[in-house]
Subunit: 366 residues, 2 copies
């Protein structure tokens, strides 16, 4: 059965890096027989310019019907020109919620070849290999009431609401505990239970699911501020980290500093499995649209290419092919392939296309 | 006029490090004529054990009447034994709110003497010298509605509310912009305006105050997740960072990794000035009670001692004395004084008392 992959290049550097991820996936279709059919769809600012909407109906229908999305980035310099309503229609948050992809995987590893360009000492980050499971469809991003209200004295007040139900916490906790079992069997659950009641409930539910269903996994609880510190002090102490939507946003960028560039970081967002055990999925490099370098052909495609590896693992269910791709990335880096964001001063720099060529060459050579 | 300083050693390592900060301030009273009268008061777990309350009335009255508080830490291993109501009475949050100390200063600098023990490469952090102005009396910490509610189906939902009024944003923005003028004239304002309406209002108000009253200061806006990354990638790019209560909590710990230990970090929380231009103030090392090492005499007192330097600067209004103390800390570190948290393997380690002795010796020698 061929898997239907909707490709959404989007804005900024999105098209450039997504093209390379597609090219790499084409290699797996042609050379390894991975059954993918990839179809590009228009959305975002590009679609607004030509279609008068950030989310054509045909695109939304394709998204909802797809086995997975391969997403580039959203957000452009002239986004302000687009009415708020239209921005929402084509937004990442609407897709995440629409697909109910609650489990956002953000793996972070210290690539040995990048030890020199990391802002950290090698002794701090060598061997770091952690993965965030960020809850992606609730919390501060979606809570109501929200908005800007006018008070009795005529001045304004901004309001956002952070909420989690037991069910929302339980499903992401189960996912993270299950994932820990496939790795080093260690889960860190992160909250601000000392300040937030919603954090206290988070901690209670994670503790209960762990005790009842995953007592073999080592579970620790950590306050979010301490986690921010420990990610810088001792990132190798982490295996799987589960946390809420907002803390996950900040803490995964904290950890992103390990390689000195967000350009290296992939992500996958997964729904609950359906009756056939299949999860809907959204794959996305976490760097965003980077409008300042868009169109120059210099963006690092490895975040997108490593997102394609996650697609091979989670949607194509071909873990050996995912490993093959990650090994090829490692080989390309080890051979000295660098885009500008990960190069040391004086090092030769590849274009977006050139970096993908290096990965494909490593795949061919393996 | 003698300044009335209420000393609140509190729990865990609080008493150990506070004793040393008091000893250092005694030096400034005796040798430099700084007019301070320091009085210890009971609160927290120690007070609960002997007085049956975490906050005796006499302590609360002294707090409200003081020129400044010198605070150790709150929170002990057996805190769970204390009823929630009593925990709240003696809590840091109640003091912050009661004193209306909305501007929380958290300076972070890369101490040259600690370059080797920093988790970061020296080229990343050398010269870093930044200061957070964290809003401390609003936002997620205090917003209502909050709590754990039972839903129609009998399961529970945790709720916390993040709110900021224009006035709350304006006063912290003014403080931060004014502070930037006394430093390198650069302010980074941090929010999640792309996701939170309260963040959009934050950005709008900061922009307006800047344009109307501080156009000479360079202002940039940054998303909180990007700030977490940049603190790891390029901490030297920051001067003053203003942000809300919750982001400030996480991001200042992120930056804390620069020295590898929270033990080095001081803080000051300041109210608006009264009619005589005097601000209420709460000085506190940011490391917390660290119950695992309490009572061993090994905690790093420099966070508390550097908090005393902030007291000299902001409450005693003796900037030259504050500089003198910070220079003495630098000299002690340069001479090799290390507590366990900042020592490299094999380096000689001082006790809490020994480190304070080294600072006092440096003061005497200067
Ligand atoms: C673009 C933005 C809405 C998004 C988020 O905050 O979730 C991004 O920062 C991310 O982490 O995927
Ligand atoms: C102890 C805790 C309530 C406090 C906070 O979250 O503000 C602490 O982490 C801090 O940063 O001062």
């Amino acid at each position: 059965m061929t898997l239907d992959i909707v490709v959404l290049p989007g804005d900024g550097v999105g098209p450039e890096v997504t093209d390379e991820a597609v090219r790499v996936l084409d290699w797996f279709v042609a050379k390894r027989g991975v059954p993918l059919r990839m179809t590009r769809h228009l959305f975002g600012s590009a679609s607004w310019a030509t279609q008068g909407t950030t989310m054509p109906d045909a695109t939304w229908e394709a998204i909802m019907a797809a086995d997975a999305l391969l997403f580039g980035a959203v957000g452009s310099l002239d986004q302000k020109q687009i009415p708020a309503e239209e921005r929402r229609k084509g937004s990442l948050l609407r897709m995440r919620k629409g697909l109910d992809v609650f489990a956002n995987l953000r793996p972070v590893r210290a690539w040995p070849a990048l030890a020199e360009s990391s802002p950290f000492k090698t002794r701090t980050v060598a061997g770091a290999d952690l993965i965030f499971v960020r809850e992606l469809t609730a919390g501060m991003y979606f809570g109501t009431p929200r908005g800007i209200e006018t008070q009795a004295d005529g001045t304004r007040r901004g309001v956002n609401t952070h909420t989690y139900t037991e069910a929302e916490i339980a499903r992401v906790a189960r996912f993270a505990l299950g994932l820990a079992r496939t790795r080093r069997n260690h889960l860190t659950s992160v909250d601000k239970a000392n300040v937030m009641e919603a954090g206290a409930l988070w901690r209670e539910v994670v503790t209960a699911i762990h005790a009842a269903e995953f007592p073999d996994v080592t579970l620790e609880h950590m306050l979010a501020d301490n986690c921010a510190l420990q990610l810088g002090r001792a990132p190798t102490r982490f295996d799987v980290i589960v946390t809420d939507n907002l803390f996950g946003d900040l803490l995964s960028d904290c950890a992103g500093a390990i390689n000195g560039s967000l350009g290296m970081l992939p992500s996958a967002a997964l729904s609950a499995p359906d009756a056939n055990g299949r999860r809907r999925a959204l794959y996305e490099p976490i760097h965003g649209s980077a409008p300042d370098i868009a169109g120059k052909g210099i963006a690092n495609p490895l975040g997108a290419i490593l997102s394609a590896a996650l697609l091979l693992r989670w949607t194509a269910q071909a873990p050996a092919e995912a490993d093959r791709l990650e090994t090829a990335v490692e080989a390309a880096l080890a051979a000295g392939a660098r885009t500008a964001d990960i190069a040391l001063p004086g090092e030769a720099v590849l274009s977006t296309r050139g970096m993908a060529d290096a990965v494909i060459a490593a795949l061919d050579a393996a």
